[in-house]
Homo-oligomer: 460 residues x 3
């Protein structure tokens, strides 16, 4: 449970807000590279963090991200001609390069001071992992390198990337990713079935059984330089525990908990559009081999894992406007929800909390420990920034090269040992990462190995 | 004409408003029973008096009416599983019974105080007359019995019930029902025709002639324990009067004035959805015989009397968004309006006053006496309630068992005598009603037998 | 660049605003005559200057323009019966003539004072040039005559009139008409082509070349009694200048600069609907001959010059909601914009400045001199009116009989001489106009022959 003030602070990311300032310390995805496929191609409207911007790929393939209003009389550069290393306003031909400099002003006499002094707002961009990233913060704080999320580091053939629009505030959707307790309900097949039609490829029947039979997983959290890793353990067979391990990286990245050793990894990154919607960039990658054509086809088709079936504008076909095409008969007989698709089930649950979840009326449970930790991390980050402390994670790109997934271990095995055995490190950082220093998890017990104390709320 | 303050007081029914408090002293229709046909079936979104609620029929057939936000983290229980005497949140499986008690919390450890202390808001419901009713007021004021409207008291085969959405404030729509003077225009066939294509079954040609030829009916009003009855008399043939008699029962029920002795009765009940729309529950009943299949088919098809032709969501096919499909050629040649259907004509006239009628700019006429009386009754009721006087009608369920309709009488016959002859009582109460005490109409002349003095407004 | 206060003053025309008062001193188009084709036909909803009104043609063919709320209880007279010299409310039959007088009140007793004292708001109307005009200002200021725009003065066979909806504030759209510098870009064929598919009939290839090759025309402005005329000169062949001459008449009329001697003239008039949209009445006329059927067909089909291709409600098919069907491939190869139609290109540029252009962030150029002059004229007019000085132009109807178009002249020829040669007068007034006195252009150099000093903004 949060105060109304903290709830507001958590969710709002427009320019001038605390969380907006915090997000602007990090590189953000602004589009898929595939959305700007061609040099001098059609420009693309982009909105993030409450800012309406225009992206275009210039003659040399570089991506510009600019405020789309011509400095002359405010015509929309979206309609502009993208030609010869710049975008030209259709009204009177003023032309801007990717830095926002106005390089041609045909209706201004020679000799005018305008010729070297007109600029529009522009943000630096980079491409990484088939995604265009931008930095919207103060230039002097710009991180030198993008977060080295592993999906972007592997060869292009090893990954698949897309995105989808989520019709609610970013923070409650992010919380859904960090709350793996909901797997025991939201994504379950109907009680009469052993497996879920939408989960067959991602989880076997045994795992479904463990998830269904233990709705009260035990959680451990270990902090690291980019965020924290959450392990949720459920009773498995023969006295063992089934661990589902999730990564959170500041400000809004996550890796999902399903991948067993050797399986494909999945992750996602949230980008607020405005306070009532957000983009979720979704990626699959395999560190060791290219993805097969069948896998890519499955992801592109959607309705599999975090890959939703998409309609125009990357909006899932099953969405808020059509109640996710909930099928009440299927809810009786096939799945817990009657909604097809894990991504769509998540969207339904998260959207259903409202355009912005009201966190002042909650009754949190110990299984919400990841959610609580996330909120604390974000609110601490914002308050620290306001007090002058920059977010350290923004300057630690290699700390983002972490993995997450599932593991089966003996009941007495500590979480750190499970992590070491599964990933080769107690935090999930990839062994080969150039950097990857893990903060000492013992020195700050308040921020590490947190096992369920809910500082927000007295335990029930 | 009302002051702006009284207009606001009259129309607003959200929680915390004066009229909202007043309505909450009475049982309200919340859905047709047919909208929740099955035990453990799909739940139903319901909105009334500005509250967004969820109705569901549990395993035992009982109807729950709850606030649809899960107490855990606010997910929408509309998507929940309706199973085993409760509705279960799809996010983490919390389950609520029809009283709003959270009876299962799977992700909360045993022993937590949560297990017996989580409740969400729930309202008591009953079924009567194929309608689900709820009481949204303070529990200590809950009337023991539903209003014994005759359509609900007769055997099920004797009635037909449906509803329709009206796209304006409830009060101006209610006024339309109490203002029978408009029959001389709104529902007339074109001046060149003797009968209206939409009225043939409800009124014969003679009646059309009387309505058309006397646009200035004379009104009498008699109060009773549930509200009041209005008689409007027009000149008929041979010096007789044609009386059209309408019932109003607090806070928003009415019986229509068309039924001649032996004919089917019609009534309706208004329920505000919000300040800009309302439900109208519409019912036909015959005290003496089951309704014929042909009658039911006609009502179900719509376009007959108060039964509109309905599209999805019980919205009339001819509605505000399409100008009621007004046909200007038909307006020249077939009907006064060019709009098909009496219910649709009413909707057009009422909607056209605005989403909320501005009663500060009116010029009322003596034929508006029923409208004036209605406003006074409602405003007095609200003001009395604020001063601590509960509405007596809410505790007089039997006083609602009244009838209304048409009569032909000698010109010198007083209204009370016409009532006695037509209905067996001066107020229209059904002789067999258990209770039915009529307040002395002579003792309070200001509130009884009101024949047109407009306290709101100097007579023109 | 304007201050925020002046921007607001310029754009807002609702009742009670300064610019709204100013517009209300002039007759305004409210509908095409063709929208009310028949006596006693269907009435027409009209909105202008923020007022929602109802127009109807009565039995004698006269047009009424009234507030559409019945004085009785506010029902919408749009649904009324238009019959026998009045419009009759469908609710209780009150009937209004074109002056707004309530001439029948069937449900009001004889002898009531209502019978001679009920009026609703009504505005005087006239028809001229196949357009219905109305005067919405104070009666004592009503100009005796409509502005004698030449399209309305010529025989009906010599003109074609239509209108289109523009989805932005009126003032920026008006500015687009006065800013002929944009022809060098917005309406150009692609750089690789010699002619524009949308311009072939209006301009020959030589003119296209001159426009394309000189994006920095030189402007001269001459004031006259109805407004001012702007000449923009570009380098043509053999040391000559190509003049494009545009008329502006208060408060919002213009004549386009393309017509060469002997060609058809084009003009348009803006009428604000509200602050976010406006009507543009568009007309073609030939002073000397009837328009040919082929010309009429081309105008009616649209996609030619200022005649857009129209969909329902006179909304252009290519509009704000569909990004004007911009074709990025066509933008590479066929035209500067990839949008078909000059009117549509203008709409795109003007809409793209926002629902209301933000004039506080501009960087004006010397080619914006017409825009600057327009703003100054309007803001001066509003401020003068507030100070008690009525707009003189409203009382000079003959001063509106002016022409504009193109001319080719020797480089040393002064603008006034070019005008005299092309139109027979230095201001473009038609020689045969009854009146047509031209204000001495020499006595007030600040308001005349303005050649580019931008009092709003230091020259760049």
């Amino acid at each position: 449970m949060l105060s109304a003030a903290d709830n507001t602070l958590l969710v709002q990311t427009d320019p001038g807000t605390g969380m907006g300032d915090y997000f602007r310390r990090f590189w953000q995805p602004v589009a898929l590279s595939a959305e700007l496929p061609l040099a001098d191609g059609a420009p693309l409207r982009v909105k993030l963090l409450g800012e309406e911007l225009l992206a275009f790929r210039d003659t040399h393939g570089r991506v510009g991200l600019i405020e789309p209003k011509c400095a002359h009389r405010g015509a929309d550069l979206f309609f502009g001609r993208n030609e010869d290393c710049g975008i030209r306003c259709i009204y009177h031909g003023w032309k801007y390069d990717i830095t926002g400099k106005c390089v041609e002003l045909p209706n201004v006499p020679e000799g005018s001071a305008y010729h070297n002094n007109i600029h529009i707002k522009a943000y630096p961009t980079r491409e990484f992992g088939d995604v265009i990233w931008a930095y919207l913060g103060p230039p002097e704080r710009q991180p030198a390198q993008l977060p080295q999320l592993e999906f972007g580091v592997v060869p292009p053939g090893h990954r698949f990337v897309t995105k989808r629009l989520q019709q609610c505030n970013w923070a409650q959707s992010m919380e859904g990713a960090l709350d793996t307790a909901h797997f025991s309900f939201l994504h379950m097949p109907a009680p009469t079935l052993a497996k879920n039609d939408t989960m067959t490829a991602a989880a076997d029947e045994r795992r479904i059984g463990w998830l269904r039979n233990d709705p009260l997983p035990q959680f451990k959290i270990v902090a690291h330089d980019a965020g924290f890793v959450i392990g949720g353990s459920r009773h498995a067979d023969a006295g063992q525990l089934y661990w589902r391990i999730t990564q959170f990286m500041l400000p809004a990245h996550s890796i999902t908990p399903s991948a067993m050793p050797g399986e494909t990894y999945y992750g996602y990154t949230w980008v607020p559009v405005d306070d009532h919607s957000c983009w979720i960039y979704v990626y699959a990658w395999h560190p060791d081999r290219p993805l097969a054509e069948a896998e890519r086809a499955q992801y592109a088709r959607g309705g599999f894992g975090q890959f939703a079936e998409l309609g125009p504008g990357y909006l899932p076909l099953r969405n808020r406007s059509n109640d996710y095409l909930i099928d009440r008969q299927a809810q009786k007989t096939l799945s817990f929800t009657g909604v097809r698709g894990i991504a769509e089930q998540d969207a339904m649950a998260q959207d259903s909390q409202g355009l912005v979840a009201d966190r002042t009326r909650e009754h949190l449970s110990p299984t919400d420990v990841g959610v609580v930790r996330f909120r604390r991390a974000m609110l601490d980050g914002v308050k620290d920034l306001r007090a002058g402390t920059e977010p350290a994670a923004a300057q630690r790109p290699d700390a983002y090269r972490v993995r997450a997934g599932g593991a089966i271990a003996a009941a007495q095995e500590p979480f750190e040992a499970v992590m070491q055995a599964r990933f080769g490190s107690p935090t999930g950082i990839v062994a080969g990462a150039v950097s990857g220093v893990v903060s000492a998890t013992a020195t700050n017990p308040q921020h590490n190995a947190d096992s369920g104390s809910l500082s927000e709320k007295a335990a029930p």
